[in-house]
C-alpha cells in the first residue's frame, strides 16, 4: 500500500488527498491549524473569467469533488464586477465543514493541529516528516502544500507585521518550508519594486458592521461598488498586491465588496479610519485579518523548483502543489495543481510515468507556463491565474478560454484524459 503524506491541508492539500486516495493510496493530511482549507476559509471567488474553463477541465479529468462543493455552497452565481465575469462566490463559512466531511468520508486521515517542522531523509529520499512534538510520520511519497504565506517574521520583514489572519501563526505555530528543510532552496516571488513577497489581496468586513442598504444589495447582487473619496485614492498600493487580476484602476478608485458570507473587501488592507469615512461604512470592522486596517499576510516567499508533473527537483519522492508550486493565485489554481500532484504521487510509487497535462488544456498550459516564467527575473514579479492578468490574456489569445462545457469535455477526451483522476492505479 502506498502511504502518501500531505503536508498542509489547504485547497491544494485537500485536492491532492482526494486524487491520491482515488488512485489507491493510503493518505494522511498534516494540518497545523484546526481548520482545513487554509486561506480558502477567507476566499470565495470561483469560476471568474478563465477559472470557469479550468473548473470544467478539472471535472472532466475526474476530480469534481471540490468544485462540486464550492458550486453547492455558492451564495451567488454569474456575478460580474470590474474586470471579471461570471464569478461564483462560495460561502466561506459553509465550505470547510463540507470539505472536511467529504475528505473524512473518503477514508482520508486528517491530523489537525499537527505542525511539520523537518524531514528525515536518506540520500534524496524523504523517509518521514518530523512534527513539532518531535514524533515522525513516515510515508512513501510526500506532497508539500504548505503554501508560501507568512509566518509572522516574514509578514513583519516584508509587510506590516502580523495582522492576525486566518492562518493564526501565533496560535498554531509558523509554516516551515519542508522542501527547504530537505535541502532544496526556495524560490521567492517579488513585487514590482523587487522587494520580496506580496500582500494578500483582500480583507473581510463583518457584514453587520455595514449599513443596511449595503448589506441588502450585497445579499441580492453579490457585489457592491462604492467610490473612494478622491483624497484617499492610493494607486501605489496596486503594485504590492498578490492578486494582479484585481490590481486594476477600478479597484483603487472604488471600494469593491463581494458577498462571501462576509463582505469581502477587494483591497489588501485599508486604514479603518479612512474606511469609516465612506458612506455606509461608519461602523465598519474587520473580521479577517483582524488588523486589516494595518496590513495583510505576505505571500510568495517559499516556492519549490519542480517539473510539470509537480515533482520537486532534487528530491526523489516529494511533490508540491498550490502556491508552493509557483506564483499561483486562487483556489481553482490550488485544486488544479493539487489534483495532479496527488495522482502523480501514486504513479511515482508504482514507478510508472508521471502525468503531465498537455498544453492544449488550460490546466497543462498554466502549469507549464508558470514554470517557464518563474525562471526569468520579470516572471518572478508576475502572478499566474486563470482569472486575470497576463495569463488570462494568454488563455484568450490561445483559444483556451471557453464557456462551452461540451467543448471542454471534448478537449479532455481528445487527449485521452477523460476521467483520468478516477482511475484506481493501485
Amino acid at each position: 500500500m502506498a502511504k502518501v503524506i500531505i503536508i498542509g491541508g489547504g485547497w491544494a492539500g485537500c485536492a491532492a488527498a482526494i486524487t491520491a486516495k482515488k488512485a489507491g493510496a493510503d493518505v494522511t493530511i498534516l494540518e497545523k491549524t484546526d481548520l482545513l482549507l487554509g486561506l480558502g476559509n477567507v476566499g470565495g471567488i470561483m469560476r471568474n473569467n478563465g477559472r470557469f474553463t479550468a473548473s470544467e477541465e478539472i471535472i472532466a479529468l475526474g476530480a469534481s469533488e471540490l468544485i462540486a462543493i464550492t458550486d453547492r455552497v455558492a451564495r451567488h452565481k454569474n456575478v460580474n464586477f470590474p474586470g471579471h465575469k461570471h464569478a461564483s462566490l462560495y460561502d466561506v463559512i459553509k465550505v470547510e465543514p463540507r470539505v472536511r466531511k467529504k475528505i473524512t468520508d473518503m477514508g482520508i486521515e486528517i491530523m489537525l493541529e499537527t505542525r511539520a517542522i523537518d524531514v528525515n531523509k536518506t540520500g534524496n529520499k524523504i523517509k518521514g516528516i518530523v512534527l513539532a512534538d518531535e514524533t515522525v510520520v513516515e510515508g512513501d511519497v510526500f506532497i508539500e502544500t504548505t503554501g508560501s504565506t507568512g509566518p509572522m517574521g516574514n509578514c513583519l520583514r516584508y509587510g506590516n507585521g502580523c495582522c492576525m489572519c486566518i492562518l493564526r501563526c501565533p496560535s498554531y505555530g509558523p509554516r516551515v518550508s519542508i522542501s527547504k528543510r530537505a535541502g532544496v532552496e526556495d524560490i521567492l516571488g517579488q513585487r514590482a519594486d523587487e522587494c520580496y513577497g506580496a500582500f494578500s489581496g483582500a480583507c473581510k468586513l463583518a457584514k453587520n458592521s455595514l449599513s443596511s442598504d449595503i448589506v441588502e444589495k450585497l445579499d441580492k447582487d453579490g457585489v457592491v461598488i462604492v467610490a473612494i473619496p478622491q483624497e484617499d485614492i492610493n494607486m501605489g498600493k496596486l503594485g504590492h498586491k498578490v492578486c494582479q487580476q484585481y490590481a486594476l484602476k477600478e479597484f483603487a478608485e472604488n471600494v469593491i465588496l463581494l458577498d462571501t458570507g462576509y463582505a469581502k473587501l477587494m483591497t489588501s488592507y485599508y486604514p479603518l479610519d479612512k474606511l469609516r469615512k465612506i458612506p455606509g461604512f461608519e461602523d465598519a470592522r474587520y473580521d479577517d485579518p483582524y488588523s486589516g486596517g494595518k496590513g495583510n499576510s505576505v505571500r510568495y516567499l517559499s516556492m519549490a523548483p519542480r517539473n510539470n508533473a509537480l515533482k520537486v527537483e532534487g528530491l526523489d519522492n516529494l511533490f508540491c502543489a498550490g502556491e508552493k508550486s509557483g506564483l499561483f493565485v486562487g483556489h481553482t489554481e490550488a485544486i488544479v495543481t493539487g489534483s495532479l500532484a496527488g495522482h502523480n504521487s501514486v504513479c511515482l510509487y508504482l514507478g510508472i510515468p508521471l502525468l503531465e497535462l498537455p498544453r492544449t488544456l488550460a490546466l497543462g498550459d498554466l502549469i507549464a507556463y508558470a514554470n517557464e516564467a518563474i525562471k526569468t527575473p520579470d516572471g518572478l514579479k508576475n502572478r499566474y491565474t486563470f482569472s486575470g492578468g497576463k495569463y488570462f490574456t494568454r488563455m484568450v489569445e490561445k483559444g483556451l478560454y471557453t464557456l462551452d462545457i461540451d467543448e471542454i469535455k471534448l478537449r479532455v477526451k481528445r487527449v485521452g484524459l477523460e476521467g483520468i483522476y478516477e482511475e484506481k492505479l493501485l
Partner: protein, 329 residues
C-alpha cells in the same frame, strides 16, 4: 532530537544580546538570514519582539543585594544558605533547572558562581542554596566576614540548570527514576517536585558522594518519593557501578520507567546516556547541566560544547536532548 531550544525564548529577557548580534539560538531572521525557518516555535515571534523593542535586546538580568538569613554547616565543606529574595524571584526560581549567580559583596564580578536552587519558600520569600567548598570562588564566599557574610550579590533568575527540562515539565502519570549524587542532590528536589505534580511516581537512588552527607533523603520522602541509598559511582574505576547499570536497565525493561534524571558527575551522565543509547530505548533522559556556566547569557563562551553531530551549542541557554552529548560518539 534536531530541535535546539533557548531556555529564555519568550521570557522578559528575550530577545537578548545574541539576537542583537545576529546569533539568536532560535530565530533564523535574527541569525542574519532573510526568511523565517521557525522550527522551534515557542509561541512568540522573537523577531517581532525585537523590532517592537526598537531593534534592541531587552534589559538583562539584574544583580540584587540579598540578605543571608542563615548559613548552616551540615558537613565538613557543605553549607546551606537561606537567602531572602523578592516575591518575583521566588516565583521565577521555583522550577527545575533554576539557578542564580552568587558572589560576596566585596568580590569582583568574575567571582560570580552558578548555584542551583534547592528550595523556594514563597511565603517567606526565601531560597535555599547548598554551597560546597571547592575553589577560589566558593572559599571567598564562605570566608566572608565582618558583615560581608550577611549579604550576597545575586544575579538571576536563570533556568538552564537541567537539560531536557521539557520532558520533566511535560511528564504525566508515569514512573521516573532519579539518580543523584553528592552536591547534585540539591537541584534534584525541584525536579522531583515537578514530576510529582504531574501525577507520576518518583524513585530516587541517592549517593552522598564526595559531599559526604545525605541532606535530601528526608525531604524526598516527605514529598512522597521512594529513596534507596546506594553507591552510584564505582570510585576505583571511575564508572557507574554495575548495580546501578543493572537497576536502570531493569527499571526500563521490566518496571515501566519512562523518565530518567541523572543528577551527578559527568561520569554518571555518560554511563546512563550510553546505556540508554545502547538499549535503543525511547525513555526520556534528562540530567543536570554540568557545563562551566560563567556569564549565563551566552556571551563568554565558557559553556560552549559540541553535540555528537558536531554542532556547537551554548549550554547556558540552549535546551537539547542530553543524548546528543552523552549518548556516545
Amino acid at each position: 532530537m534536531k530541535v535546539l531550544d533557548c531556555i529564555d525564548a519568550g521570557t522578559e529577557y528575550c530577545p537578548c544580546h545574541l539576537a542583537e548580534k545576529g546569533e539568536c539560538i532560535m530565530c533564523s531572521q535574527l541569525q542574519g538570514k532573510s526568511f523565517c525557518d521557525c522550527v522551534n516555535w515557542k509561541g512568540v515571534c522573537i523577531y517581532q519582539e525585537y523590532i517592537w523593542n526598537q531593534s534592541h535586546n531587552k534589559e538583562s538580568r539584574k544583580t540584587y543585594t540579598c540578605e543571608v538569613l542563615n548559613k548552616e554547616q551540615i558537613a565538613a565543606s557543605i553549607y546551606i544558605f537561606k537567602i531572602k529574595v523578592n516575591r518575583t524571584l521566588t516565583r521565577e526560581l521555583n522550577q527545575p533547572g533554576a539557578y542564580v549567580f552568587l558572589r560576596s559583596p566585596n568580590d569582583p564580578l568574575y567571582f560570580d558562581m552558578p548555584m542551583s536552587i534547592m528550595k523556594v519558600d514563597k511565603e517567606e520569600e526565601t531560597i535555599n542554596i547548598v554551597v560546597q567548598e571547592r575553589g577560589v570562588k566558593t572559599k571567598s564566599l564562605l570566608e566572608a566576614k565582618n558583615g560581608n557574610d550577611k549579604e550576597v550579590l545575586l544575579r538571576g533568575p536563570f533556568w538552564n540548570g537541567v537539560l531536557g527540562v521539557k520532558y520533566i515539565k511535560g511528564f504525566r502519570k508515569g514512573k521516573a527514576l532519579l539518580l543523584v549524587r553528592g552536591i547534585g542532590q540539591a537541584p534534584a528536589l525541584l525536579v522531583a517536585n515537578k514530576i510529582l505534580q504531574g501525577g507520576s511516581s518518583v524513585e530516587v537512588i541517592l549517593d552522598r558522594g564526595k559531599a559526604g552527607v545525605d541532606f535530601t533523603k528526608n525531604r524526598f520522602e516527605k514529598m512522597g518519593c521512594h529513596v534507596i541509598n546506594k553507591k552510584i559511582i564505582d570510585e576505583e574505576n571511575l564508572t557507574v557501578s554495575d548495580w546501578v547499570i543493572q537497576y536502570v536497565r531493569n527499571s526500563i525493561t521490566n518496571k515501566g520507567t519512562e523518565l530518567i534524571y541523572s543528577g551527578g558527575p559527568e561520569i554518571l551522565h555518560y554511563g546512563i546516556g550510553e546505556l540508554i543509547k545502547q538499549m535503543g530505548s525511547d525513555v526520556y533522559f534528562t540530567c543536570s547541566n554540568n557545563m562551566k556556566l560563567c556569564c549565563g547569557e551566552g556571551i563568554c563562551g565558557s559553556c560552549q560544547t559540541r553535540l555528537i553531530d558536531g554542532k556547537r551549542v551554548k549550554t547556558c541557554k540552549t535546551q537539547f536532548d542530553p543524548i546528543a552529548i552523552y549518548g556516545g560518539r
